[in-house]
Amino acid sequence: MRQLFYNQAIAEALAEEMRRDQNVILWGIDIGPYGGANACTKGLYEQFGPSRVIDMPVSELGYVGMGVGAAATGIRPVIELQFSDWITLASEMIINQAAKMRYMFGGVLQMPLVIRAPVGGYLSAGAQHSNSFESMFSFVPGIKVIMPSTPYEAKGLLKSAIRDNNTVLFFEHKKLYAMKGEVPEEEYTLPIGKADIKRPGSDVTIVTYAYMVGKSLAAAETLARQGVDCEVLDLRTIDPMDREAVLASVKKTGHLVVAQETWRDCSVSSEVAALVAEEAVDYLDGPVVRVTAKDVPIPFSPVLEEYVLPKEADIVAAVNKVLNRVSV
């Protein structure tokens, strides 16, 4: 099958949806002739012109808020934030406006708004350019949160996000932009809210997403060589979470590791563990173990960042721990 980079898959999804529906409009910083900080809008300005691909000033609250007003009035804005770290600046418009407007107005309008933003570390980008805030937004009802782990998923899920009539946060991992993978040439979409078993296995379930999927698969390979058969479940959509898939896998394996890049407290990993404690505790043959970033801001120096962010070896160690197995 044809191979594309993750950022190319995104650009292709955008282009296809823009052709399909003229109300799909992009805005953000440097997304026009510049093509986007991560080249996700490369060529779109040339193809669709300045009224479909709009460069904004550095005013996150303003242009995300404009997305709310535009989505409420017939446009389907797809907004790029240059890094997700400063989604903080726009969070009022996401949390109190976009997420709530349809509901608090009794359903009289729709909010077909997509906000795309790069997340994640492993780049020595320092404490303010390495964050992943999906947990904070999953907490809030009225927002969907998607985090694709491959080019295939990036394209299929972004197309679904753009067609969705609700607010969707679409978090792309910076380290994945340069990942190459198979992407069909034919039209396809992927369902929001469905997890994907990236590797079936019988001994332990590893629930993970985004850039950690690759590290989890690598850990699973290492463990397979040691005779441990891991199931790697890629959540793909963080919210709504595919709770059935998580439970089915844990009921099968009896063991759960949750591997996420970001901090532990009140996070996606907390939610997955809580879900299992609520719905499948009788199936657990040992403790749940979470693999997460250590509880400090992401430091700059590579040696420090490596210490703080989770590694393949941490996942291996976690699996050994849930299996009460001495590491080899």
């Binding site: 000033p57 808020g65 007003g69 535009a70 017939g74 418009m93 509901y103 009539n165």
Partner: protein, 319 residues
């Protein structure tokens, strides 16, 4: 300026509607009939009505926590509003919104808003939307003097200026934000001067003079509709009530309030219309009677409407 008779009468009727509606809300709230908080628009009627009278039904507005006036001015039904204030299933928003969250897109009402200044980028986005869809719609964005110190005011007006968006920014300068006199936290006198920063015209008008507001809005709406871009209109006005009902009025000099009540917007306007032969005394009375009857019916509708079912709380989140 030559204002059509229907417009002049509409302005009169809608100002009266607001006056009576808000007076009634005040009483109903004091009687304990209405849950939550209410912020009344009494004394500021000329602003909302003057602006909305210059707009079409298909045009948009965004409103604030002090939203009843804007919604009535844009044509909102007092019964559906009152039912919303009662938290009834028949309210504009099925009781989910309440006083601070009334929206009715069919009349271009994109929502009151509980977050100060939040309507500003939303209005700006609606303006971008109108421009992109080439719909010819214009947006009026209402906000207070307090809101003009929020960052999104700056971001939004900058963008509107840069892209020539069809938005009329209407700052209702009633001198206070809650209990703080805004001259203490803003160095300059006229908020309209801030238009300079965005390359758009800034206009100061007497917010208690419906004709002056209408004329300024008319010009701004015209500019916006013809693609010439946004305008910032500052309307000097005053709220008669405390910030929200039930708050003690400890922070405003009584003389100040008295002086502004003396300069109230409706009576002189009524007089003007009668003097100019736009309506007769009898017509004026008939309009007022009709307004009160409509309000009475609205209150009755609200009172007799059913509450939402508890389970309906789970509906309307996802489209």
């Amino acid at each position: 300026m030559d204002i059509p008779r229907e417009t002049l009468l509409l302005i009169y009727e809608r100002m009266l509607k607001i006056r009576h509606f808000e007076d009634r809300v005040k009483d109903l709230f004091a009687a304990g009939e209405l849950p939550g908080f209410v912020h009344l628009y009494l004394g500021e009627e000329a602003v909302a009505v003057g602006v909305c009278a210059a707009m079409k039904d298909s045009d948009y507005i965004t409103s604030t926590h002090r939203g009843h006036g804007h919604i009535i001015a844009k044509g909102g039904d007092m019964g559906c509003m009152m039912a919303e204030l009662y938290g009834k299933a028949t309210g504009y928003n099925k009781g989910k919104g309440g006083s601070m969250h009334i929206a009715y897109p069919e009349l271009g009402i994109l929502g009151a808003n509980g977050i100060v200044s939040a309507g500003i980028p939303i209005a700006t986005g609606a303006g971008m939307s109108a421009m992109l869809r080439k719909s010819g719609q214009v947006v009026a964005c209402f906000f207070g003097d307090g809101a003009s110190n929020e960052g999104t005011f700056h971001e939004s007006l900058n963008i509107a200026g840069a892209f020539n968006l069809p938005v009329v920014y209407v700052c209702e300068n009633n001198l206070y934000a809650v209990g703080t006199r805004q001259s203490q936290v803003r160095k300059i006198e006229d908020i309209a001067d801030r238009a300079v920063s965005y390359g758009m015209p800034g206009v100061v008008v007497d917010g208690n003079d419906a004709v002056a507001v209408y004329e300024a809005a008319f010009e701004a709406v015209d500019r916006a509709r013809s693609g010439e871009g946004p305008t910032l209109i500052e309307c000097k006005t005053y709220r008669w009530r405390t910030h929200f009902e039930g708050e003690p009025d400890t922070y405003r000099p009584p003389e100040e309030l008295a002086a502004w009540i003396k300069r109230e917007p409706i009576a002189p306007y009524r007089k003007l219309l009668i003097e100019q032969g736009v309506m007769s005394e009898a017509e004026a009375q008939a309009i007022e009677k009709k307004v009160v009857a409509e309000l009475d019916a609205g209150v009755e509708y609200a009172r007799s409407s059913p509450l939402p079912t508890p389970e309906s709380a789970m509906a309307d989140l996802w489209a």
